[in-house]
Amino acid sequence: MTDTPKIKQLRSYLNLRTRITASDNRVFNGIFMCIDKYKNIILSQTEEFRGAEKRFVGLVMIPGKHIIKAEVEDLELSDEYT
């Protein structure tokens, strides 16, 4: 199974900090571990934010259908700070 360029790019996002907004407006910030065809995403060392309320939730799986927004750490932009 050879990776298409897009999948290759997706693969490069693994292990990066990722921010996902779920359908109930909670934001999950964790490390991108795994994804499947249905956009089910697994994050590790995740923190959950609901407004100002924050808690640690660890390893979570966010089902694709509940993802409204997904963001990944932009290494190119982050580099500007170094």
Binding site: C34, E48, K69
Partner: protein, 809 residues
């Protein structure tokens, strides 16, 4: 798993920010604001990939995953699914949205205060029964805000539109506050005890505080004062106000609130006294225990009136707090105990603590041990807190009951059973001041040294044993199996020491038919304890439901054997105890031990107990063999295991022991074959066994508590004997019935049985001598077909958890 590349960048960033800040010459403390500010700088820049994800995943093949090499399917499975109400504790459910908000400033009515008090009590007892704090006590909103419950809270409230007809704020700032504080202090004292590590964390009890303070700095004494203030206020003003309101049940409400305050105070006092070191204040604790029990009984008796008086307050208890504290586990709703269950739970706890206070009045080592044995077997089993307290009482910092040394306890324990010569355990001062006698004097220090060696080696196994008896029932058996080898080694060591002591004291052996017999005082005691362990491990298997019905026969047969060994051992000890008395009269220089009447009576009672148990076990396994003959006891066809493997497995931990001799499966088969005996004869023999057991038990029932060394647990002991008696009687009745029924079928059965036997004999001569399991199962199959009726043997442990009543059903 952070990528290493961006770590230094962050560090640099922090430095740069700090430099920048210092340049600006801002005197900003490390406050929330500044850290937040720098945090926002530290946060990585994100780019939106929502759309990209859609496109990329479209190119996925079915079942394809993109994942880190280190991340496997197993890891994936352990993740928590977001937006699944069963897993996701952070989800807001519809039911949560409709929940009314909690108002700390609410002026609670007396009944509402009562409602909170009762709910909090249920939470407390549910915690005691093993649930986590986060799902019990911590759900109470007043718990988290108790220190804010002051007058100012109400005075400065701009929204307070209260009128004079509203309830006085004292119901909240005094009555409720003092009760909640009292509960917190009680919980804290219990928590302190539970963290000593006497019981199994997460198995018996949960002590995780999730970083929430239990107001450790608020002194207990101040809490007592607060409750007393509340009591005074209630009596002087609260009552009046409630009465003026003039509801029909006002007197009940007053009584209910007051009794709960009183109970909280005395329970707190109990815990405070119990927590003092070296059991110094158990007497005071007992006084308050009695008060607590009376009050609790009062609440229980008025249960139908007072328990339904409380009114729920919306928002006062929030089970969702659990989500914030335990975020990484799926929510598991629990059921709180009801008021009635909580009262019972507390009653059992108080009774158990009271019994613990009693044992401070030490009578003898054996009675202490017996107390523990019966305490451990209580149903319902004692709560974790009382078991922990008991352990702390018995042994803390090598002090027994806060006052005795281990040496004294071991000395008493050995002396009560085998009555060794006085010189063995004589203290050093005694040795120094005793009249000079050259021959003995040399040996004295040597003897003392040897005995001390023995004591040193005994300390650990014995304290372990005490601890085990304070564990939960399943743990008891498990840990008993673990310490077996310790006791076996100790026995070996004790035998060596005994042999040396024999020559040092010039002990003259008793001449018996089997040759000279030495007393072996120390190792006899060890062997006795070890045999008790061996028996109890097997017996506990019945209580814990570990055996299949088809195994009962071999287990009871094995216990029968162990009890037989034990009986002989005690008989031997008895002989030495009584004989030594005579011989020692001649050797006055060894100093005469106090007349061992107590030892003799203990040995007599122990032997009676053993013989009673043995008769019951023998009756049971013989009845089962007879029922196998008649075909009533069905033996399952085992495909993947056979009886001999099972036999080996069941008694494997006994295999490594030096004594008693392990019996093999062949022994079992040979001794339970009963080929030449008819089922009817076996039934009759069993009947005799049960009758013999009955008469032994009746003899035991007539003995005095002090003779039996049952000073602290005579009621429980009598209860057990009566249960055993019931087992015997029920089995006798049932056996008569079985015999009756068998006689009716006898003509047919006996005819067929003879044929069967003939066939068996033929088969035996043909096949090899060993009984293979397959042939035995064929045998049972054939026997089953012999049965006329469709009845099956039925085992009911209805009177005693160790001995069943066997009936045909």
């Amino acid at each position: 798993m952070t990528s290493p590349s961006d770590l230094p960048s962050k560090d640099d960033l922090v430095k740069k920010t700090q430099v920048a800040l210092s340049k600006l010459n801002l005197t900003v403390d490390q406050t929330e604001e500044s850290t937040e500010h720098s945090n926002s700088l530290l946060l990585p820049q994100y780019k939106d990939i929502t759309k990209f994800l859609d496109e990329a995943t479209d190119e996925f093949e079915i079942g394809q995953l993109v994942h880190l090499e280190s991340f496997g399917l197993y890891d994936a499975m352990s993740s928590i699914e977001i937006m699944d109400p069963k897993m996701d504790s952070g989800m807001i459910l519809d039911s949560d949205l409709n929940k009314p908000p909690f108002n700390l400033r609410a002026r609670l009515k007396p009944k509402e205060v009562l409602g909170i008090i009762d709910h909090l009590f249920n939470c407390e007892m549910t915690w005691h029964s093993g649930h986590s704090l986060s799902q019990t006590i911590f759900t109470c909103m007043y718990f988290h805000h108790v220190s804010e419950l002051n007058q100012e809270l109400f005075i400065n409230d701009p929204n307070d539109d209260s009128t004079d007809s509203d309830s006085p704020i004292e119901f909240v700032i005094l009555v409720l506050k003092s009760y909640v504080f009292g509960t917190i202090k009680c919980c804290h004292l219990v928590w302190d005890e539970m963290t000593k590590g006497n019981v199994y964390e997460e198995e018996d009890f949960s002590t995780n505080k999730y970083g929430i303070s239990m107001y450790e700095n608020f002194p207990d004494s101040q809490c007592i004062k607060l409750i007393e203030d509340a009591e005074t206020w209630m009596e002087q003003h609260g009552c009046k106000w409630i009465r003026e309101k003039g509801q029909h049940d006002c007197e009940n409400v007053i009584r209910a609130i007051l009794s709960r305050l009183h109970l909280r105070k005395s329970f707190l006092l109990v815990l405070m006294h119990m927590s003092q070191s070296r059991c110094q204040q158990y007497l005071q604790a007992q006084r308050h225990l009695n008060t607590s029990m009376q009050l609790l009984n009062g609440i229980k008796e008025g249960a139908n009136v007072s328990l339904s008086l409380g009114v729920d307050v919306s928002g006062a208890f929030d089970p969702l707090i659990n989500r914030k504290l335990v975020s990484q586990t799926p929510p598991r709703p629990i059921r709180l105990l009801t008021m009635q269950e909580s009262i019972n739970e507390m009653m059992n706890m108080l009774k158990s603590i009271n019994a613990t206070c009693e044992i401070i009045n030490y009578k003898s080592a054996t009675s202490l041990m017996n107390f523990l044995v019966y305490h451990a077997s209580q149903q319902p089993s004692p709560c974790a807190f009382s078991r922990s307290i008991l352990q702390s009482t018995i042994c803390t910092e090598n002090r027994i009951l806060g006052k005795m040394s281990m040496f004294q306890l071991i000395k008493d324990s050995v002396t009560e059973l085998t009555n060794p010569p006085y010189i063995y355990f004589a203290s050093k001062i005694d040795i120094a001041t005793s009249p000079k006698d050259d021959l003995i004097d040399e040996n004295k220090s040597e003897i003392s040294k040897l005995v001390h060696n023995f004591v040193d080696s005994t300390v650990k196994p014995l304290t372990d044993l005490y601890r085990i008896l304070c564990h939960n029932r399943s743990r008891q058996r498990r840990n008993m199996c673990k310490v077996l080898t310790d006791w076996d080694l100790l026995q070996e060591e004790a035998e060596h020491i005994d042999t040396k002591l024999q020559s040092l004291t010039n002990e003259e052996p008793l001449i018996t038919e089997e040759g000279p017999s030495y007393s072996f005082h120390l190792s006899s005691w060890v062997y006795h304890r070890k045999l008790v362990l061996l028996e109890d491990i097997l017996f506990l298997g019945f209580e814990l439901d570990l055996y299949g019905t088809h195994e009962y026969m071999m287990i009871y047969w094995y216990i029968d054997y162990l009890l037989g060994v034990h009986y002989q051992h005690l008989e031997r000890t008895h002989m030495h105890v009584t004989e030594n008395k005579k011989s020692k009269k001649q050797q006055e220089n060894l100093r005469l031990a106090p007349p061992p009447t107590s030892t003799v009576s203990l040995l007599v009672s122990q032997r009676l107990m053993i013989i009673a148990k043995q008769d019951i076990c023998r009756g049971i396994h013989r009845t089962i063999s007879a029922l196998r003959k008649t075909g009533h006891a069905i033996f399952p066809r085992l495909e993947f295991d056979d009886e001999s493997t099972r036999f080996w497995h069941r008694f494997r931990m006994y295999r490594t022991l030096g004594s008693p001799t392990i019996l093999s499966y062949k022994d079992f088969k040979d001794m339970t074959q009963f080929d030449n005996i008819t089922a009817m004869d076996l039934f009759n023999v069993s009947l005799q066994n049960f009758q013999a057991a009955r008469s032994s038990i009746e003899k035991l029932l007539a003995m005095k508590p002090s003779e039996l060394r049952m000073d602290f647990c005579h009621a429980d002991f009598t209860k057990e004997l009566q249960a055993m008696l019931r087992v015997c009687i029920a089995n006798i009745v049932s056996l008569h019935k079985i015999i009756e029924e068998c006689k009716e079928n006898e003509i047919v059965t006996s005819h067929k049985q003879q044929k069967q036997k003939q066939r068996q004999k033929n088969k035996k001569s043909l096949t090899s001598s060993s009984v293979t399991p397959s042939s035995s199962s064929i045998q049972t199959q054939k026997l089953t077909s012999l049965r006329k009726d469709n009845k099956v043997a039925n085992f009911e442990f209805k009177y005693h958890p160790w001995y069943p009543v066997i009936t045909l059903k």
